[in-house]
């Protein structure tokens, strides 16, 4: 199943760390459940941010609301990365070759690029916006892209097992 996988991923799969995750009765399921719980938190925080950027929750102060939601999103994302690394390690060689997993990582990278573009090109303007003032087009676009990208990431994540 891991024939042809890059050596680094085969080595990871064969490491003591990965073996311990596979051998434990509860570690793998715990990482699985944790991944979903952090996904739930991330989706909630992300939903608030993207809805605000798209023009919803217009009566709120964008800088404050976005900063608060961002703190939750960062914690949730860190939790997803940690639990995801555990799940990945257990089957690293296999997953590295999985086309849906590759698509998922590409989409996560795209989500990161979207965040970076927003930070540099839209955030300074959004930070100064008073409640009730329409969002600039660049901010709305970033919000829409974020929503689409991260929903696609979630869909890919669930689809890995079927490819």
């Amino acid at each position: 199943m891991i024939d042809g996988a890059p050596a680094v991923f085969v080595a990871l799969e064969q490491s003591d760390f990965a073996s311990a995750i596979r051998r434990s009765v509860w570690l793998y399921p715990a990482a699985n459940v944790g991944h979903i719980i952090f996904l739930f938190l991330f989706a909630a925080a992300l939903g608030v941010m993207d809805v605000r950027l798209l023009g919803g929750l217009a009566a709120t102060d964008p800088a404050r609301l976005l900063a608060r939601a961002r703190a939750f999103a960062i914690v949730a994302l860190a939790g997803m990365v940690l639990s995801g690394l555990m799940l990945f390690s257990a089957e690293a060689g296999h997953l590295a070759l999985n086309p849906v997993f590759q698509l998922k990582l590409t989409l996560i990278a795209a989500g990161g690029v979207n965040i970076a573009l927003y930070e540099f090109m839209a955030r300074p303007e959004v930070q100064r916006l008073a409640p009730g003032i329409p969002m600039p087009a660049r901010a709305r676009l970033a919000g829409l892209l974020s929503l689409l990208i991260w929903i696609a990431v979630a869909a890919c994540g669930r689809s890995i097992a079927y490819f």
């Binding site: 199943m1 073996s19 995750i21 596979r22 051998r23 434990s24 009765v25 509860w26 570690l27 793998y28 399921p29 979903i36 996904l39 739930f40 989706a43 909630a44 992300l46 939903g47 993207d50 809805v51 798209l54 919803g56 929750l57 257990a90 089957e91 929503l147 929903i151 979630a154 869909a155 994540g157 669930r158 097992a161 079927y162």
Partner: protein
Amino acid sequence: MLRIVSVLAALVSIVGAAIAHHGWGSYDAAKPVTIVGPILTSKFENPHATITVRGSDKVWTVTLAPTSRMVSRGATEKVVAVGQNISAYGYPSTVEKDEMRAERITVDGKTFEMR
């Protein structure tokens, strides 16, 4: 407000779908097979325990269940250890050659459901 609720509902429904576990989609339930023979290798590991079995025609890789489920049903690591004679009823993979997913296994006259 309605817009926010509908967006959040869409997100929640995705999370809900994600809770459902690994499927049987890549196994052909229309062509069930029973493999009888000795266990050659055994990995009692997550996400699924897997064994190889020397069947009458060839060596099969048999995918079992998550280890917690196996243990709770009495199909412990010893039950599926190397050298045990096993009968595995299940469905051949449509993706992996010579792999099947067991619906149930019988060892020493005891049958264990894997689903």
